[in-house]
Protein backbone atom coordinates (compact mmCIF):
# COMPACT_ATOMS: atom_id res chain seq x y z
CA UNK A 1 0.00 0.00 0.00
CA UNK A 2 2.79 2.35 0.91
CA UNK A 3 4.33 1.57 -2.47
CA UNK A 4 1.20 2.77 -4.25
CA UNK A 5 1.52 6.22 -2.82
CA UNK A 6 5.25 6.42 -3.48
CA UNK A 7 4.72 5.69 -7.16
CA UNK A 8 2.28 8.56 -7.46
CA UNK A 9 4.77 10.79 -5.70
CA UNK A 10 7.40 10.07 -8.33
CA UNK A 11 5.11 10.84 -11.24
CA UNK A 12 3.65 13.90 -9.52
CA UNK A 13 5.72 16.45 -11.47
CA UNK A 14 4.55 14.93 -14.70
CA UNK A 15 0.92 14.91 -13.51
CA UNK A 16 1.09 18.59 -12.58
CA UNK A 17 2.66 19.40 -15.94
CA UNK A 18 -0.05 17.42 -17.68
CA UNK A 19 -2.73 19.58 -16.10
CA UNK A 20 -0.91 22.86 -16.68
CA UNK A 21 0.68 22.42 -20.08
CA UNK A 22 -1.02 19.62 -21.91
CA UNK A 23 -4.72 19.34 -21.22
CA UNK A 24 -5.54 22.96 -21.94
CA UNK A 25 -4.00 23.21 -25.43
CA UNK A 26 -5.18 19.72 -26.33
CA UNK A 27 -8.78 20.42 -25.42
CA UNK A 28 -8.61 23.82 -27.12
CA UNK A 29 -7.41 22.31 -30.37
CA UNK A 30 -10.11 19.64 -30.16
CA UNK A 31 -12.76 22.32 -29.75
CA UNK A 32 -11.24 24.39 -32.55
CA UNK A 33 -11.58 21.40 -34.88
CA UNK A 34 -15.34 21.95 -34.70
CA UNK A 35 -15.08 25.62 -35.57
CA UNK A 36 -14.26 27.91 -38.41
CA UNK A 37 -11.28 29.78 -36.98
CA UNK A 38 -9.04 32.05 -39.04
CA UNK A 39 -6.81 33.04 -36.05
CA UNK A 40 -7.72 36.72 -36.35
CA UNK A 41 -11.47 36.56 -35.78
CA UNK A 42 -13.55 34.67 -33.24
CA UNK A 43 -14.01 30.96 -33.92
CA UNK A 44 -17.50 30.04 -35.11
CA UNK A 45 -18.94 26.69 -34.16
CA UNK A 46 -19.71 24.71 -37.32
CA UNK A 47 -20.20 21.20 -35.95
CA UNK A 48 -18.51 18.41 -37.81
CA UNK A 49 -18.28 20.41 -41.04
CA UNK A 50 -14.45 20.36 -41.02
CA UNK A 51 -14.46 16.59 -40.76
CA UNK A 52 -17.03 16.28 -43.54
CA UNK A 53 -14.98 18.60 -45.78
CA UNK A 54 -11.90 16.56 -44.99
CA UNK A 55 -13.41 13.35 -46.30
CA UNK A 56 -14.45 15.12 -49.52
CA UNK A 57 -11.06 16.78 -50.02
CA UNK A 58 -9.05 14.98 -52.68
CA UNK A 59 -5.84 16.67 -51.50
CA UNK A 60 -6.44 15.19 -48.07
CA UNK A 61 -6.65 11.66 -49.47
CA UNK A 62 -3.54 12.13 -51.60
CA UNK A 63 -1.82 13.43 -48.51
CA UNK A 64 -3.01 10.56 -46.32
CA UNK A 65 -1.86 7.97 -48.85
CA UNK A 66 1.53 9.65 -49.12
CA UNK A 67 1.85 9.62 -45.34
CA UNK A 68 1.11 5.90 -45.14
CA UNK A 69 3.57 5.15 -47.94
CA UNK A 70 6.21 7.19 -46.20
CA UNK A 71 5.69 5.44 -42.85
CA UNK A 72 5.73 1.98 -44.38
CA UNK A 73 8.97 2.67 -46.25
CA UNK A 74 10.82 4.62 -43.57
CA UNK A 75 10.18 2.84 -40.28
CA UNK A 76 11.52 -0.65 -41.11
CA UNK A 77 14.43 0.72 -43.16
CA UNK A 78 15.53 3.03 -40.40
CA UNK A 79 15.17 0.46 -37.61
CA UNK A 80 17.13 -2.24 -39.41
CA UNK A 81 19.79 0.15 -40.57
CA UNK A 82 20.35 1.75 -37.18
CA UNK A 83 20.38 -1.58 -35.35
CA UNK A 84 22.94 -2.89 -37.82
CA UNK A 85 25.20 0.14 -37.38
CA UNK A 86 24.79 0.11 -33.60
CA UNK A 87 25.87 -3.52 -33.58
CA UNK A 88 28.99 -2.72 -35.59
CA UNK A 89 29.82 0.34 -33.51
CA UNK A 90 29.58 -1.77 -30.37
CA UNK A 91 32.82 -3.52 -31.33
CA UNK A 92 35.82 -2.83 -29.21
CA UNK A 93 38.06 -1.47 -31.93
CA UNK A 94 40.75 1.15 -31.85
CA UNK A 95 39.40 4.53 -32.92
CA UNK A 96 35.79 3.52 -32.48
CA UNK A 97 35.12 6.88 -30.82
CA UNK A 98 35.92 8.64 -34.05
CA UNK A 99 33.64 6.36 -36.03
CA UNK A 100 30.77 6.79 -33.59
CA UNK A 101 30.98 10.54 -33.94
CA UNK A 102 31.27 10.31 -37.71
CA UNK A 103 28.15 8.17 -37.92
CA UNK A 104 26.26 10.57 -35.72
CA UNK A 105 27.20 13.65 -37.78
CA UNK A 106 24.21 13.45 -40.17
CA UNK A 107 21.85 13.63 -37.21
CA UNK A 108 23.63 16.66 -35.85
CA UNK A 109 23.02 18.38 -39.15
CA UNK A 110 19.27 18.01 -38.57
CA UNK A 111 17.49 20.49 -40.80
CA UNK A 112 20.64 22.27 -41.94
CA UNK A 113 20.33 24.16 -45.22
CA UNK A 114 23.19 22.16 -46.65
CA UNK A 115 21.02 19.05 -46.75
CA UNK A 116 18.45 20.49 -49.11
CA UNK A 117 21.24 21.52 -51.47
CA UNK A 118 23.13 18.23 -51.21
CA UNK A 119 20.02 16.13 -51.65
CA UNK A 120 19.46 17.82 -55.01
CA UNK A 121 22.93 16.79 -56.15
CA UNK A 122 22.41 13.26 -54.93
CA UNK A 123 18.94 12.63 -56.38
CA UNK A 124 18.81 14.92 -59.43
CA UNK A 125 18.36 13.23 -62.80
CA UNK A 126 22.08 13.46 -63.45
CA UNK A 127 22.86 13.13 -59.76
CA UNK A 128 25.05 10.79 -57.82
CA UNK A 129 22.53 7.99 -57.31
CA UNK A 130 21.58 7.83 -60.97
CA UNK A 131 25.24 7.85 -61.98
CA UNK A 132 25.92 4.90 -59.70
CA UNK A 133 22.87 3.11 -61.08
CA UNK A 134 24.18 3.85 -64.56
CA UNK A 135 27.35 1.91 -63.81
CA UNK A 136 25.16 -1.16 -63.33
CA UNK A 137 23.29 -0.39 -66.53
CA UNK A 138 20.16 0.82 -64.79
CA UNK A 139 18.30 3.67 -66.46
CA UNK A 140 18.17 6.96 -64.56
CA UNK A 141 15.27 7.18 -62.11
CA UNK A 142 13.23 10.38 -61.86
CA UNK A 143 13.59 10.63 -58.10
CA UNK A 144 11.96 14.01 -57.75
CA UNK A 145 9.48 13.68 -60.59
CA UNK A 146 7.74 10.45 -59.57
CA UNK A 147 5.61 9.99 -56.49
CA UNK A 148 7.34 7.02 -54.91
CA UNK A 149 10.75 8.29 -55.97
CA UNK A 150 10.17 11.55 -54.15
CA UNK A 151 8.85 9.73 -51.06
CA UNK A 152 12.03 7.72 -51.13
CA UNK A 153 14.23 10.82 -51.18
CA UNK A 154 12.59 11.93 -47.92
CA UNK A 155 12.84 8.45 -46.42
CA UNK A 156 16.49 8.35 -47.38
CA UNK A 157 17.04 11.56 -45.46
CA UNK A 158 15.47 10.11 -42.32
CA UNK A 159 17.27 6.79 -42.64
CA UNK A 160 20.53 8.62 -43.16
CA UNK A 161 19.86 10.64 -40.00
CA UNK A 162 19.66 7.43 -38.01
CA UNK A 163 21.92 8.69 -35.23
CA UNK A 164 19.51 9.01 -32.33
CA UNK A 165 17.88 5.64 -32.97
CA UNK A 166 21.33 4.13 -33.29
CA UNK A 167 22.50 5.73 -30.03
CA UNK A 168 19.51 4.30 -28.18
CA UNK A 169 20.27 0.86 -29.59
CA UNK A 170 23.89 1.29 -28.61
CA UNK A 171 22.89 2.22 -25.07
CA UNK A 172 20.69 -0.87 -25.03
CA UNK A 173 23.51 -3.09 -26.25
CA UNK A 174 25.73 -1.71 -23.51
CA UNK A 175 23.13 -2.77 -20.97
CA UNK A 176 23.32 -6.42 -21.93
CA UNK A 177 25.38 -8.12 -19.23
CA UNK A 178 28.65 -9.48 -20.55
CA UNK A 179 28.11 -12.65 -18.51
CA UNK A 180 25.30 -13.72 -20.81
CA UNK A 181 27.58 -13.61 -23.84
CA UNK A 182 30.21 -15.54 -21.95
CA UNK A 183 27.59 -18.10 -20.95
CA UNK A 184 26.46 -18.42 -24.56
CA UNK A 185 30.07 -18.90 -25.65
CA UNK A 186 30.52 -21.65 -23.07
CA UNK A 187 27.40 -23.32 -24.46
CA UNK A 188 29.14 -23.28 -27.83
CA UNK A 189 26.74 -20.89 -29.53
CA UNK A 190 28.06 -19.21 -32.69
CA UNK A 191 27.98 -15.49 -33.32
CA UNK A 192 24.77 -15.52 -35.32
CA UNK A 193 23.05 -17.76 -32.83
CA UNK A 194 24.16 -15.56 -29.95
CA UNK A 195 22.83 -12.52 -31.78
CA UNK A 196 19.38 -14.01 -32.20
CA UNK A 197 19.20 -15.89 -28.92
CA UNK A 198 20.85 -13.40 -26.56
CA UNK A 199 21.20 -9.97 -28.07
CA UNK A 200 17.84 -9.57 -29.79
CA UNK A 201 15.63 -10.89 -26.95
CA UNK A 202 17.37 -8.73 -24.37
CA UNK A 203 17.14 -5.76 -26.67
CA UNK A 204 13.39 -6.14 -27.30
CA UNK A 205 12.33 -3.41 -24.82
CA UNK A 206 14.58 -1.01 -26.72
CA UNK A 207 13.50 -2.27 -30.13
CA UNK A 208 9.94 -1.79 -28.97
CA UNK A 209 10.68 1.76 -27.85
CA UNK A 210 12.37 2.65 -31.12
CA UNK A 211 9.58 1.09 -33.14
CA UNK A 212 6.89 3.06 -31.31
CA UNK A 213 8.83 6.31 -31.50
CA UNK A 214 9.75 5.86 -35.16
CA UNK A 215 6.11 5.23 -36.00
CA UNK A 216 4.98 8.35 -34.17
CA UNK A 217 7.77 10.47 -35.63
CA UNK A 218 7.25 9.16 -39.16
CA UNK A 219 3.58 10.06 -39.03
CA UNK A 220 4.61 13.54 -37.93
CA UNK A 221 7.37 14.03 -40.50
CA UNK A 222 7.47 17.65 -41.57
CA UNK A 223 11.01 18.83 -42.18
CA UNK A 224 11.84 16.38 -44.97
CA UNK A 225 9.13 17.31 -47.45
CA UNK A 226 9.28 20.94 -46.34
CA UNK A 227 12.97 21.20 -47.17
CA UNK A 228 13.34 18.85 -50.10
CA UNK A 229 10.19 18.44 -52.17
CA UNK A 230 7.73 21.00 -50.80
CA UNK A 231 5.08 18.32 -51.24
CA UNK A 232 5.75 17.77 -54.95
CA UNK A 233 5.41 16.23 -57.46
CA UNK A 234 1.63 16.57 -57.71
CA UNK A 235 1.25 16.43 -53.92
CA UNK A 236 2.68 12.93 -53.79
CA UNK A 237 4.91 13.91 -50.85
CA UNK A 238 2.47 16.34 -49.27
CA UNK A 239 2.49 14.53 -45.92
CA UNK A 240 -0.33 15.21 -43.46
CA UNK A 241 1.75 17.36 -41.06
CA UNK A 242 2.61 19.63 -43.96
CA UNK A 243 -1.04 19.88 -44.90
CA UNK A 244 -1.87 20.67 -41.26
CA UNK A 245 0.78 23.36 -41.18
CA UNK A 246 -0.36 24.90 -44.47
CA UNK A 247 -3.98 25.00 -43.40
CA UNK A 248 -3.26 26.36 -39.93
CA UNK A 249 -0.59 28.95 -40.61
CA UNK A 250 -0.61 29.60 -44.36
CA UNK A 251 -4.27 29.40 -45.31
CA UNK A 252 -5.44 30.69 -41.91
CA UNK A 253 -7.86 27.83 -41.58
CA UNK A 254 -6.92 26.71 -38.08
CA UNK A 255 -10.20 24.85 -37.58
CA UNK A 256 -9.54 22.62 -40.56
CA UNK A 257 -5.91 22.20 -39.57
CA UNK A 258 -7.02 21.06 -36.12
CA UNK A 259 -9.52 18.61 -37.59
CA UNK A 260 -6.80 16.96 -39.69
CA UNK A 261 -4.56 16.91 -36.62
CA UNK A 262 -7.13 14.99 -34.64
CA UNK A 263 -7.60 12.59 -37.52
CA UNK A 264 -3.85 12.03 -37.48
CA UNK A 265 -4.04 11.59 -33.70
CA UNK A 266 -6.53 8.75 -34.13
CA UNK A 267 -4.46 7.09 -36.86
CA UNK A 268 -1.28 7.20 -34.78
CA UNK A 269 -3.24 5.89 -31.80
CA UNK A 270 -4.51 2.91 -33.78
CA UNK A 271 -1.02 2.02 -34.99
CA UNK A 272 0.50 2.48 -31.55
CA UNK A 273 -2.19 0.43 -29.85
CA UNK A 274 -1.56 -2.33 -32.32
CA UNK A 275 2.17 -2.33 -31.55
CA UNK A 276 1.53 -2.19 -27.80
CA UNK A 277 -0.92 -5.07 -27.84
CA UNK A 278 1.47 -7.15 -29.93
CA UNK A 279 4.30 -6.46 -27.50
CA UNK A 280 3.33 -9.18 -25.03
CA UNK A 281 4.25 -11.75 -27.67
CA UNK A 282 7.69 -10.49 -28.48
CA UNK A 283 8.98 -8.02 -25.88
CA UNK A 284 10.76 -9.49 -22.87
CA UNK A 285 11.20 -7.44 -19.74
CA UNK A 286 13.79 -8.49 -17.18
CA UNK A 287 11.71 -6.93 -14.43
CA UNK A 288 8.99 -9.50 -15.08
CA UNK A 289 11.45 -12.32 -14.74
CA UNK A 290 10.21 -13.59 -18.10
CA UNK A 291 13.37 -12.71 -19.99
CA UNK A 292 14.77 -15.43 -22.17
CA UNK A 293 18.39 -16.23 -21.74
Amino acid sequence: MENRRIGLLYILPWLIGLVIFTIYPFVTSLILSFTNYNIINAPQFIGIQNYVNMFHDSTFWTSFTATLEYVVITVPLKLIFSLFIAFILNYKLKGINFYRTAYYIPSILGGNIAIAVLWKFVFANTGLVNQVLGVFGIKPVGWFSTGLGAIFTISALRVWEFGSTMVIFLAGLKDIPQELYEAAAVDGAGKIKTFFKVTIPLLTPIIFFNLVMQLIQAFQEFNGPYMITQGGPLYKTYLLPMMIYDNSFKFFNMGYGSAISWFLFIIIMIFTMFVFSSSKYWVFYSDEGGGES
Partner: protein, 301 residues
Protein backbone atom coordinates in the same frame (compact mmCIF):
# COMPACT_ATOMS: atom_id res chain seq x y z
CA UNK B 1 43.61 -13.49 -17.02
CA UNK B 2 46.71 -11.90 -18.57
CA UNK B 3 48.94 -14.71 -17.54
CA UNK B 4 46.51 -17.18 -18.93
CA UNK B 5 46.38 -15.55 -22.38
CA UNK B 6 50.13 -15.23 -22.46
CA UNK B 7 50.38 -18.89 -21.70
CA UNK B 8 47.88 -19.70 -24.40
CA UNK B 9 49.74 -17.55 -26.87
CA UNK B 10 52.90 -19.50 -26.35
CA UNK B 11 50.98 -22.68 -26.86
CA UNK B 12 49.30 -21.32 -29.96
CA UNK B 13 52.53 -20.19 -31.44
CA UNK B 14 53.56 -23.79 -31.43
CA UNK B 15 50.39 -24.54 -33.28
CA UNK B 16 50.68 -24.50 -37.08
CA UNK B 17 47.10 -23.31 -37.39
CA UNK B 18 47.93 -20.24 -35.40
CA UNK B 19 49.36 -18.31 -38.34
CA UNK B 20 46.34 -19.13 -40.40
CA UNK B 21 43.96 -18.01 -37.69
CA UNK B 22 45.96 -14.89 -37.02
CA UNK B 23 45.86 -14.09 -40.72
CA UNK B 24 42.13 -14.59 -40.82
CA UNK B 25 41.68 -12.40 -37.77
CA UNK B 26 43.66 -9.64 -39.45
CA UNK B 27 41.68 -9.89 -42.68
CA UNK B 28 38.51 -9.78 -40.61
CA UNK B 29 39.71 -6.68 -38.85
CA UNK B 30 40.71 -5.07 -42.11
CA UNK B 31 37.27 -5.74 -43.56
CA UNK B 32 35.62 -4.23 -40.51
CA UNK B 33 37.72 -1.10 -40.76
CA UNK B 34 37.13 -0.88 -44.49
CA UNK B 35 33.35 -1.03 -44.04
CA UNK B 36 33.46 1.42 -41.17
CA UNK B 37 35.62 3.83 -43.15
CA UNK B 38 33.49 3.73 -46.29
CA UNK B 39 30.42 4.33 -44.15
CA UNK B 40 32.15 7.15 -42.32
CA UNK B 41 33.04 8.85 -45.59
CA UNK B 42 29.40 8.77 -46.71
CA UNK B 43 28.30 10.10 -43.35
CA UNK B 44 30.96 12.78 -43.18
CA UNK B 45 30.70 13.97 -46.75
CA UNK B 46 28.02 16.59 -46.07
CA UNK B 47 30.02 18.25 -43.36
CA UNK B 48 33.14 18.18 -45.50
CA UNK B 49 31.10 19.68 -48.33
CA UNK B 50 29.71 22.25 -45.92
CA UNK B 51 33.18 23.38 -44.91
CA UNK B 52 34.23 23.48 -48.57
CA UNK B 53 31.13 25.39 -49.59
CA UNK B 54 31.85 28.07 -47.02
CA UNK B 55 34.69 29.18 -49.30
CA UNK B 56 32.71 29.14 -52.55
CA UNK B 57 30.72 31.67 -54.52
CA UNK B 58 26.96 31.26 -55.00
CA UNK B 59 27.28 29.91 -58.52
CA UNK B 60 30.03 27.47 -57.49
CA UNK B 61 27.86 26.07 -54.72
CA UNK B 62 24.96 25.14 -56.95
CA UNK B 63 27.00 23.98 -59.92
CA UNK B 64 28.85 21.01 -58.49
CA UNK B 65 28.81 18.47 -55.71
CA UNK B 66 32.60 18.61 -55.33
CA UNK B 67 33.72 20.07 -52.05
CA UNK B 68 36.97 21.66 -53.20
CA UNK B 69 36.69 25.45 -53.41
CA UNK B 70 38.62 27.52 -55.93
CA UNK B 71 40.23 29.57 -53.20
CA UNK B 72 40.39 29.64 -49.43
CA UNK B 73 39.38 32.84 -47.71
CA UNK B 74 38.25 33.14 -44.13
CA UNK B 75 36.27 36.36 -44.47
CA UNK B 76 32.95 34.46 -44.52
CA UNK B 77 33.76 33.16 -41.04
CA UNK B 78 34.78 36.54 -39.71
CA UNK B 79 31.74 38.19 -41.28
CA UNK B 80 29.54 35.38 -40.04
CA UNK B 81 30.75 35.72 -36.48
CA UNK B 82 30.25 39.48 -36.48
CA UNK B 83 26.81 39.11 -38.16
CA UNK B 84 24.89 41.97 -39.70
CA UNK B 85 23.01 42.65 -36.49
CA UNK B 86 23.83 44.73 -33.42
CA UNK B 87 25.34 41.70 -31.69
CA UNK B 88 27.97 39.11 -32.50
CA UNK B 89 27.56 35.37 -32.46
CA UNK B 90 28.97 35.35 -28.91
CA UNK B 91 25.77 36.98 -27.64
CA UNK B 92 23.62 34.50 -29.50
CA UNK B 93 25.62 31.58 -28.14
CA UNK B 94 25.28 32.85 -24.60
CA UNK B 95 21.52 33.22 -25.04
CA UNK B 96 21.25 29.69 -26.40
CA UNK B 97 23.00 28.22 -23.39
CA UNK B 98 20.81 30.25 -21.04
CA UNK B 99 17.87 28.04 -21.89
CA UNK B 100 19.49 24.91 -23.31
CA UNK B 101 21.39 24.09 -20.12
CA UNK B 102 18.41 24.41 -17.74
CA UNK B 103 16.33 22.52 -20.27
CA UNK B 104 18.74 19.59 -20.34
CA UNK B 105 19.04 19.43 -16.55
CA UNK B 106 15.28 19.65 -15.95
CA UNK B 107 14.58 17.06 -18.61
CA UNK B 108 17.00 14.53 -17.15
CA UNK B 109 15.84 14.96 -13.54
CA UNK B 110 12.11 15.06 -14.16
CA UNK B 111 12.11 12.30 -16.78
CA UNK B 112 14.11 9.95 -14.57
CA UNK B 113 11.75 10.49 -11.61
CA UNK B 114 8.62 10.01 -13.68
CA UNK B 115 10.04 7.00 -15.47
CA UNK B 116 11.02 5.48 -12.12
CA UNK B 117 7.47 5.94 -10.86
CA UNK B 118 6.00 4.26 -13.92
CA UNK B 119 8.45 1.39 -14.20
CA UNK B 120 8.92 0.34 -10.57
CA UNK B 121 5.67 1.09 -8.74
CA UNK B 122 2.06 0.16 -8.88
CA UNK B 123 -0.47 2.90 -8.27
CA UNK B 124 -4.11 3.68 -9.01
CA UNK B 125 -4.88 4.47 -12.69
CA UNK B 126 -1.38 3.50 -13.74
CA UNK B 127 -2.46 2.02 -17.06
CA UNK B 128 -4.66 4.92 -18.23
CA UNK B 129 -2.06 7.42 -17.07
CA UNK B 130 0.63 5.60 -19.04
CA UNK B 131 -1.67 5.63 -22.07
CA UNK B 132 -2.11 9.38 -21.63
CA UNK B 133 1.64 9.80 -21.36
CA UNK B 134 2.15 8.06 -24.68
CA UNK B 135 -0.76 9.78 -26.39
CA UNK B 136 0.62 13.25 -25.65
CA UNK B 137 3.00 12.50 -28.50
CA UNK B 138 0.27 11.83 -31.06
CA UNK B 139 -0.91 15.36 -31.77
CA UNK B 140 1.17 17.53 -34.12
CA UNK B 141 2.66 20.23 -31.94
CA UNK B 142 1.90 23.08 -34.33
CA UNK B 143 -1.82 23.10 -33.52
CA UNK B 144 -0.96 23.67 -29.86
CA UNK B 145 1.12 26.73 -30.65
CA UNK B 146 -1.50 29.46 -30.36
CA UNK B 147 -3.13 28.19 -27.13
CA UNK B 148 0.29 27.87 -25.50
CA UNK B 149 1.32 31.31 -26.66
CA UNK B 150 -1.81 32.79 -25.08
CA UNK B 151 -1.12 30.84 -21.91
CA UNK B 152 2.34 32.41 -21.55
CA UNK B 153 0.95 35.77 -22.46
CA UNK B 154 -1.53 35.55 -19.57
CA UNK B 155 1.41 34.87 -17.26
CA UNK B 156 3.32 37.86 -18.71
CA UNK B 157 6.25 35.61 -19.53
CA UNK B 158 6.54 36.31 -23.23
CA UNK B 159 9.97 37.43 -24.40
CA UNK B 160 11.64 35.44 -21.60
CA UNK B 161 13.37 32.06 -21.80
CA UNK B 162 10.93 30.48 -19.34
CA UNK B 163 8.38 29.23 -21.92
CA UNK B 164 11.24 27.43 -23.65
CA UNK B 165 12.09 25.16 -20.72
CA UNK B 166 9.34 25.41 -18.09
CA UNK B 167 7.49 22.37 -19.40
CA UNK B 168 10.60 20.24 -18.93
CA UNK B 169 10.48 20.81 -15.18
CA UNK B 170 7.36 18.66 -15.42
CA UNK B 171 8.69 15.89 -17.66
CA UNK B 172 6.54 17.15 -20.49
CA UNK B 173 8.50 15.39 -23.22
CA UNK B 174 7.11 11.89 -23.19
CA UNK B 175 9.82 10.66 -25.56
CA UNK B 176 12.42 10.83 -22.79
CA UNK B 177 10.17 9.44 -20.08
CA UNK B 178 9.16 6.49 -22.23
CA UNK B 179 12.76 5.88 -23.22
CA UNK B 180 13.99 5.71 -19.60
CA UNK B 181 11.03 3.52 -18.65
CA UNK B 182 12.08 1.01 -21.28
CA UNK B 183 15.64 0.99 -20.02
CA UNK B 184 14.56 0.60 -16.40
CA UNK B 185 12.29 -2.27 -17.29
CA UNK B 186 15.28 -4.05 -18.74
CA UNK B 187 16.83 -4.26 -15.26
CA UNK B 188 15.87 -7.25 -13.12
CA UNK B 189 13.80 -6.36 -10.07
CA UNK B 190 15.89 -8.68 -7.88
CA UNK B 191 18.46 -5.91 -7.75
CA UNK B 192 15.98 -3.59 -6.05
CA UNK B 193 14.93 -6.32 -3.64
CA UNK B 194 18.51 -7.01 -2.67
CA UNK B 195 19.15 -3.31 -2.11
CA UNK B 196 16.02 -3.01 -0.01
CA UNK B 197 17.27 -5.76 2.26
CA UNK B 198 20.52 -3.83 2.55
CA UNK B 199 18.48 -0.93 3.90
CA UNK B 200 18.05 1.28 0.83
CA UNK B 201 14.86 3.35 0.55
CA UNK B 202 13.12 3.86 -2.77
CA UNK B 203 15.11 6.98 -3.60
CA UNK B 204 18.51 5.50 -2.82
CA UNK B 205 17.58 2.44 -4.87
CA UNK B 206 17.11 4.81 -7.78
CA UNK B 207 20.34 6.73 -7.27
CA UNK B 208 22.60 3.88 -6.18
CA UNK B 209 21.30 0.91 -8.11
CA UNK B 210 19.34 1.97 -11.20
CA UNK B 211 21.09 5.15 -12.30
CA UNK B 212 24.55 3.60 -12.65
CA UNK B 213 23.06 0.85 -14.78
CA UNK B 214 21.23 3.14 -17.15
CA UNK B 215 24.00 5.73 -17.50
CA UNK B 216 24.21 5.20 -21.29
CA UNK B 217 20.50 6.00 -21.54
CA UNK B 218 20.87 9.14 -19.43
CA UNK B 219 23.80 10.24 -21.55
CA UNK B 220 21.64 9.73 -24.65
CA UNK B 221 18.87 11.86 -23.17
CA UNK B 222 21.40 14.60 -22.47
CA UNK B 223 22.82 14.47 -25.97
CA UNK B 224 19.42 14.47 -27.65
CA UNK B 225 17.90 17.25 -25.61
CA UNK B 226 21.03 19.37 -26.02
CA UNK B 227 21.05 19.00 -29.78
CA UNK B 228 17.35 19.23 -30.38
CA UNK B 229 16.96 22.36 -28.32
CA UNK B 230 20.07 23.92 -29.89
CA UNK B 231 18.48 23.35 -33.29
CA UNK B 232 14.96 24.36 -32.28
CA UNK B 233 14.01 27.42 -34.25
CA UNK B 234 10.25 27.85 -34.02
CA UNK B 235 10.04 27.92 -30.21
CA UNK B 236 12.47 30.79 -29.70
CA UNK B 237 11.16 32.57 -32.79
CA UNK B 238 7.64 32.65 -31.41
CA UNK B 239 8.46 33.48 -27.80
CA UNK B 240 11.49 35.77 -28.06
CA UNK B 241 11.07 39.11 -29.77
CA UNK B 242 13.99 41.15 -28.43
CA UNK B 243 17.00 40.77 -30.68
CA UNK B 244 19.47 40.85 -27.77
CA UNK B 245 17.85 37.63 -26.47
CA UNK B 246 17.97 35.71 -29.76
CA UNK B 247 19.64 32.28 -29.74
CA UNK B 248 21.95 30.91 -32.42
CA UNK B 249 19.16 29.14 -34.31
CA UNK B 250 17.38 32.43 -35.03
CA UNK B 251 20.61 34.31 -35.74
CA UNK B 252 21.40 31.66 -38.33
CA UNK B 253 18.03 31.87 -40.06
CA UNK B 254 18.27 35.63 -39.89
CA UNK B 255 21.32 35.56 -42.10
CA UNK B 256 19.52 33.29 -44.55
CA UNK B 257 17.01 35.83 -45.68
CA UNK B 258 16.53 35.57 -49.42
CA UNK B 259 14.11 38.46 -49.92
CA UNK B 260 16.73 40.81 -51.21
CA UNK B 261 19.50 40.02 -53.63
CA UNK B 262 22.67 40.00 -51.54
CA UNK B 263 22.39 36.41 -50.51
CA UNK B 264 25.90 35.21 -49.69
CA UNK B 265 25.63 31.48 -49.25
CA UNK B 266 29.22 31.06 -48.14
CA UNK B 267 28.69 33.37 -45.19
CA UNK B 268 25.55 31.51 -44.14
CA UNK B 269 27.23 28.16 -44.51
CA UNK B 270 30.21 29.41 -42.51
CA UNK B 271 27.78 30.43 -39.78
CA UNK B 272 26.08 27.07 -39.81
CA UNK B 273 29.47 25.38 -39.47
CA UNK B 274 30.13 27.56 -36.42
CA UNK B 275 26.71 26.66 -35.07
CA UNK B 276 27.38 22.93 -35.41
CA UNK B 277 30.55 22.89 -33.34
CA UNK B 278 28.98 22.67 -29.84
CA UNK B 279 26.84 19.70 -30.85
CA UNK B 280 29.81 17.86 -32.29
CA UNK B 281 31.90 18.58 -29.19
CA UNK B 282 29.13 17.46 -26.85
CA UNK B 283 28.58 14.26 -28.76
CA UNK B 284 32.24 13.41 -29.02
CA UNK B 285 32.86 13.95 -25.33
CA UNK B 286 29.66 12.21 -24.22
CA UNK B 287 29.94 9.10 -26.34
CA UNK B 288 32.87 7.72 -24.33
CA UNK B 289 30.30 6.70 -21.72
CA UNK B 290 29.18 4.03 -24.15
CA UNK B 291 32.63 2.53 -24.24
CA UNK B 292 32.80 1.03 -20.80
CA UNK B 293 30.16 -1.52 -20.03
CA UNK B 294 29.03 0.36 -16.96
CA UNK B 295 26.05 -1.94 -16.74
CA UNK B 296 28.16 -4.98 -16.01
CA UNK B 297 29.74 -3.48 -12.94
CA UNK B 298 26.31 -2.33 -11.84
CA UNK B 299 24.91 -5.82 -12.03
CA UNK B 300 27.85 -7.39 -10.28
CA UNK B 301 27.76 -4.81 -7.50
Amino acid sequence: MNNETAFNNINLRMDKGYRKREFRRKVNLAIRYAILTIGAIIMLYPIVWLVGASFKTNSEIFSSISFIPKKIDFTPYVKGWITGTQYTFATYYLNTFKYVIPKVIFTVVSSVLTAYGFSRFDFPFKKPLFAILISTMFLPQIVLRIPLYLFWKQLHLLDTFIPLYANDIFAAEAFFVFMIIQFMRGIPKELDEAAKIDGCNSFTILTRILLPVITPAIVSVTIFQFMWSMNDFMGPLIYISTVSKYPVSIALKMAMDATSGNFEWNKIIAMSVIALIPSIVVFFSAQKYFVEGISTSGLKG
